[in-house]
Structures are given as C-alpha cells and as structure tokens.
Symmetry: C2
C-alpha cells in the first residue's frame, strides 16, 4: 500500500509518532501527512492553499499536486484559474513527499508534535486569521502549556530594549502570570526574551512562535532560553523542521503571536519596529492592542507613543490594565467542557462516523454524545453527513 | 460730587492711574471702579455676579448693593430671589467702597493695571467661561505680553516634578516659543516654574496667573522669577491686590490658565494632581488637552497616563505635536485689525456714542468707522442704541 507514492506503513508510523495518536485511521493519517506537507509547500499566510484545502480537504488537495492536475481543474468560483496557476508555479518546485518524511523524522528527534486544525489544542484564536490561518503547527512542549494559549497575552517589543523596557516587561509578564495568563512572544532579544524569562521565573506558561523550524532555535543566543521554553512552555512554528527564518516568515510569524492571544501589548518599540507589525496583525484579527508609554526622550518608546497617538493602541501602564485589555480581571469560564473535548477528539475531519462509534471512542454514553453533537452542530463545529458525523477544519469566525 | 459715597475726583484719579487711560468719561470711570470692587466682593467664578452685571452693568449692579436693594428687586427670569438673597449674604460683608481705593492705590504702587471686559487686551479666551468669566483682571507687565495670550499654550504640571519632567518642560516651552506661542502657567514650583523660566530664557512671552493678588507673589520661593515675569511677561490675577491665595482660588485660577490658552498640556502630574483640574477646565472650555507620557514607573507621570487612558488628553511628545494641538504649525492670522482695535477702544460699554465721536476718538474716517461698526455689529460685539453705539461686556461664545 502506498500513500502519495510512499510506503503507507512508514507514513503511518511517522504520523502517529508526530501526533502521539495511535488511534488514527487511514484517512486521518493521510490528512495529517498532507498538512505536514502543505506546511512546507506553501509559504506562511498562503490564502490559495487554504482555499484549496477548504475545498478538497488537505489530502485530496495534495493529491491534486502529486497527480499534476492542471490549474483549470483547481479553479472554483472563489479561485480563478490564473491564481491557481500562480499557486502551482509556487508550490510545484517544493513538492517532494519523501522530504516530508524527513521533516517528520526530524520532528520526532526533537520531540516536536504536529498539530492540525480540528485538534482539541489547535489554537482557537487562529480562526480570526481566516484564509491566512496556518496550515499546520509544529510544537515542542507539554500539552498543558499549549492549552494555556486560550487565556494568553502577547508581550512584544524592540530587540534594542532599554533597561526601563526590560524592567517594565518583567513586571508585566510576572503580573499577568499571577493573574492566570500565559505569555506569548517571539523569542527575540530584548523585550521578547524578557517576557518569556519572567514568565518562566514565575512558573507561568509561555509560548514562543518562531519564524523557522522548531528544531532551529533562533536567535542562537537564545538557545538556552528556547530549550527551557520547549521544556516548560511551548516553542511553535507553522513551518516544518529544517526551515530557515526569513524576513517574510518573521512578519507572518507575528500574525500567529497576535491571533493566538487575547490581547497584544507593545512594551518598547522604535519608530519602525517590527512590533508595530504585530500590533497591526492584532488589529486585523480584532484583538485589543496596548502600548506602554515611556520617556519621550527615549527612541525605544517612540513606536509605542505613535501607536497611542494614532489610536491604534490603548495606553497601558500595569499588569492590571493589560489584564483588563485582554478581557477583564476575572478568569473567563473554560471554553470547553470535558464532553466537548472528548467528542471532538473522537471525530475526524474526513472520516464520517456514527454516533455509536463516536461514543465508544470518546468513552461517553450515546446520550451524552448525541447531546454534545447537537450543541457542536449549532455552533457550526461539526456536521452530519450521509454516513455519519465529521468535524470541520479550521473554524471561521463570523 | 460723590461716586458710591466716595470723592469722585479721587476715584477718577485712581481709576485713570490703574487703566493708564486719561480719556475715560464719568460712566467709564464708574464702570471700571465698579468692576474693581466686584473683583474683591465676589469670589472667582461667581455666576450670580456675572448675571447681575450682565443685566445692569457693573456700576448699577454695585449701586444696588450700596443702596441696599432687597433680593426681590435683583431677581430676574434667570436669577431666582433665593439665589439673589444667597448672593447678597455672600457679598454684603465684603462691600466697602473705601477699601477699593486701597486696592487701586496698591495696584498703582506695583504698576498693576486694571483690565475689564471690552478692553482691547481683555483675553478673548475668557469668553468660553460664560457666566464664570472673571469680573476684572489685574495685570503687571507690558501690553505686548498680554496681547500674546491670543496665541498661547498652557504648560502645567506637578510641583513635585522629576528631572525628566523639568527637562521635557524646558524643551516644550522653548520649542513653543520658537514656534511663536506664548507660554501660560501658574508660577508654581516644578513644571510651572520651568515653563516660565524656559520661555523667558528663549525671550518669549509668558503669562503667570496667580491665585492671590499680583502684589503678593506666591510661592515666595518664586519671588525672583515672578519679578522677572512681571517685567518681561505678565503676572495676572482676577483678585485685587492684597488678596490671599486660597484652595478655592487656586482651583478657579486654573480655569483662567485653561481658557486663556489655545491648548493646555500637562507635562507631569501625580494621580491626584491639581493639573488634572486645569485639564478638566480646558475640556469644559472646549480647548484641546495634551499630556506628555513618561516612565510608567514614575508616580509623577501617573496623572498624565490617566488623562490619556480616559480619553481626556491626547498623547503629545514634542513641541511640534503641542503646536499642532493648539491649532496647526503655521501662525494664524491676527484676530483683530487695526480698525477693529481702535473702534473698540473708542467705544464704551455704558456710554452711548455717535459715529462722529467714535471716529474722532479712534482717529479713523467716518467711513472706516461705519464700516467697522457694521462688521462688529454682525459679530455681536457692538450694538446701536437710542443715542449711539456701545460695546458689549464679556462676549459669549455661541
């Protein structure tokens, strides 16, 4: 048996290792392998890849490439033939299924997991990215730290931070951890690094989104820090192992930081800082943005003052104000019940399953399962098809 | 001949000395003496005094007190008998015309001038105060400095300023002077003092509003500074010489700072700083408010951050941004033409004058005078009565 021209057993073994899920059926393995492939074929934020995957599912979308389908066959009312042709021109040079096996092997070597839309821990905030959502997410670190993204604040800022900026970042990070928030950032020198460090020191959850593969820690001076984050927090990337960070990927990485958090706070930023890009992504994703003021004599605060003057950020001075920005001082109700998570775990995006099968997989009664499926259907998260239930891929926000 | 029970010649001599105007007729002398009296009878911001003076003119309003008219006689559709009675209870203990002569003598001794609504240099911005406009203004310093109020920015802030706050204030004050603005403040220690000092150092105009009489420099540690301001700028108060500064008068003094300037900028302010009161007065007067951010670790910037967070002030970081707040980088056209000023000078609030008389007094042709009167009438600044033209008292903004 082959899958995309590869030995199916080898694919299955590597996908199961990368997902830590021995119960995956053939369809699920194929879909996950395809997402892994897509994560390296398309550059971050590729809307055409998302459109194609939404239309066909990841496996059939990948098969279309492997089978050499012409652009005309890929076109839909939402995707012109010209755009499809351009996309094929971008993607085809990178299409090499055997390389995907290397990515999966490299992931296994570093204890990295492959996460795909529909997974219970797939960051809910990515839904705000719409067609620009990541196609997959590679993560290192414990599940509980990834789950903590649900209630997180992004703390970002200049690499060339001042002592003042680092001090305020430390207070903000520790204060937000005390209030039950996870800290999201980009692992850069300066503000980012301090945000992660202070969260770890406060025994909080912290998530670092990288612009390259999670096997290549960047910047190299943060090797020790990223090693600690991968152990106690999460190091994540939408690109497969081995991918180099590029300028485009840094800018796209910023959208993951912004979308995965409840709010983004810029602690120090020069007049043209990359943090302003993260703030813009947060705005686009409908997330509140805060900026910390500083001395007007400090160039490292000029970008923060600019955001506030332009009405793009709220001025925030304390962890309390940042927490309020992220949605009030009191912790919100957990978004998911146990039934919710288990039923979703028991569903596949592609394979249609009966209520009995789902109940057995979820370890719930049939009544519990039916009730939860009904609720999920109302929320548009699952749907009933001819031969059973499936769950949707990356959900869209209205 | 007597005036309010005083020797008319003595009153006339003192009023002429305090106004540096030898051409005043009996009505004008009486009106100015009455305003001088009112400035000490009513506490700053007394709306009932303004209503009464608007209704009767300052002299007849004062005569009503001297003649002991009952509250019922003072009541109007806009002033209830009860409010009139309360006002009489406040005012009568302070009614002592001979004391007004002492204020005028003391003013002469200190070279202080008495300014009244309708004077060409009466600060136009006071119109925004409506019924809370000052009843008179006592000033020390050259006319040109008072005229500079027309294009001025108020720089205010904490007494307990930091080195950072003083540095930024110095830059702001010097930068605004360079851009043609006069600097208004309250002569307090800290930010206020630095604002005045930097304006003087840049050979700019600066105006200090005091909460007590202009013969009593406060705080005493700013005696030398206020002496220099009185020489090159303006020291002003709505209270007559000898008046002590009180808490109420400080708060009311702040409304004069706010209303006389095009914009108010708070440079440093603690959480409950008096500068926030000045900012609130500026808001009430429809003037833009700016606040300079600082380190969030500095208590001296907490009030500034609060103003920005509450949407009560715009964040400003440079003199350019402050100038823009005050109405754009380029100087506005002078508000008044030569004809405007001369015709207004030639008019009285009380005495009705013919066009010929006005033309002669103004040194203009009859045609010029008629044309200017027509313009002023459209603007509601003058009106034609039975026996000639008069000008209005404190003008109201729509």
């Amino acid at each position: 048996m082959t899958m995309f021209g590869l030995k199916e057993a080898e694919v299955a073994q590597l996908v199961r290792a990368a997902t830590l899920d021995d119960d995956l059926d053939r369809d699920e393995i194929e879909a996950r392998f395809a997402r892994a492939a897509w994560s390296g074929i398309a550059e971050p934020g590729d809307a055409v890849a998302n459109l194609l995957i939404d239309e066909r599912g990841p496996a059939r979308a990948l098969a279309a490439l492997v089978d050499g389908l012409p652009a005309a066959d890929l076109a839909t009312p939402y995707l012109s033939e010209a755009d499809a042709q351009q996309a094929l021109d971008r993607w085809m040079p990178r299409l090499a299924p055997p390389v995907v096996l290397q990515w999966l092997r490299q992931a296994a070597r570093h204890g990295a997991r492959l996460r795909v839309p529909g997974d219970p821990l797939w960051p809910a905030g990515f839904a705000a990215l719409g067609d620009h959502a990541p196609l997959a997410l590679w993560t290192r670190g414990p599940d509980e730290a990834l789950a903590a993204l649900e209630r997180s604040v992004a703390l970002v800022g200049a690499r060339a931070a001042t002592g003042y900026g680092e001090h305020v970042t430390m207070e903000a990070s520790a204060g937000l951890v005390d209030r039950g928030f996870a800290i999201v950032s980009g692992a850069a020198y300066g503000i980012d690094g301090m945000a992660h460090r202070a969260a770890l020191a406060s025994r909080g959850h912290t998530v670092a989104f990288l612009a390259g593969g999670v096997d290549r820690f960047y910047p190299s001076g943060h090797d020790a820090l990223l090693t600690r984050i991968a152990e106690h927090g999460i190091v994540a990337s939408e690109l497969p192992c081995g991918s180099a960070p590029t300028r485009w990927r840094f800018l796209q990485r910023n959208r993951l930081i912004a979308a995965s958090s409840l709010a983004t706070v810029v602690l120090e930023a020069g007049w043209r800082s990359g943090s302003l890009n993260t703030a813009a992504h947060a705005c686009d994703a409908g997330r509140p943005v805060g900026a910390v003021p500083g001395p007007v004599t400090s160039a490292a605060s000029a970008g923060c003052h600019r955001l506030i003057r332009d009405g793009k950020a709220e001025l925030v001075t304390t962890a309390d104000e940042m927490a309020a920005l992220a949605g009030g001082p009191e912790p919100e109700e957990p978004q998911y019940t146990r039934e919710h998570t288990r039923v979703l775990d028991a569903l596949s995006v592609t394979a249609q399953r009966t209520v009995d099968t789902i109940a057995a997989r979820a370890g719930l009664t049939v009544a519990q399962t039916q009730s939860e499926l009904a609720r999920l259907e109302v929320e548009g998260i699952v749907r009933e098809r001819e031969r059973g239930w499936t769950k949707r891929g990356a959900p869209r926000e209205p």
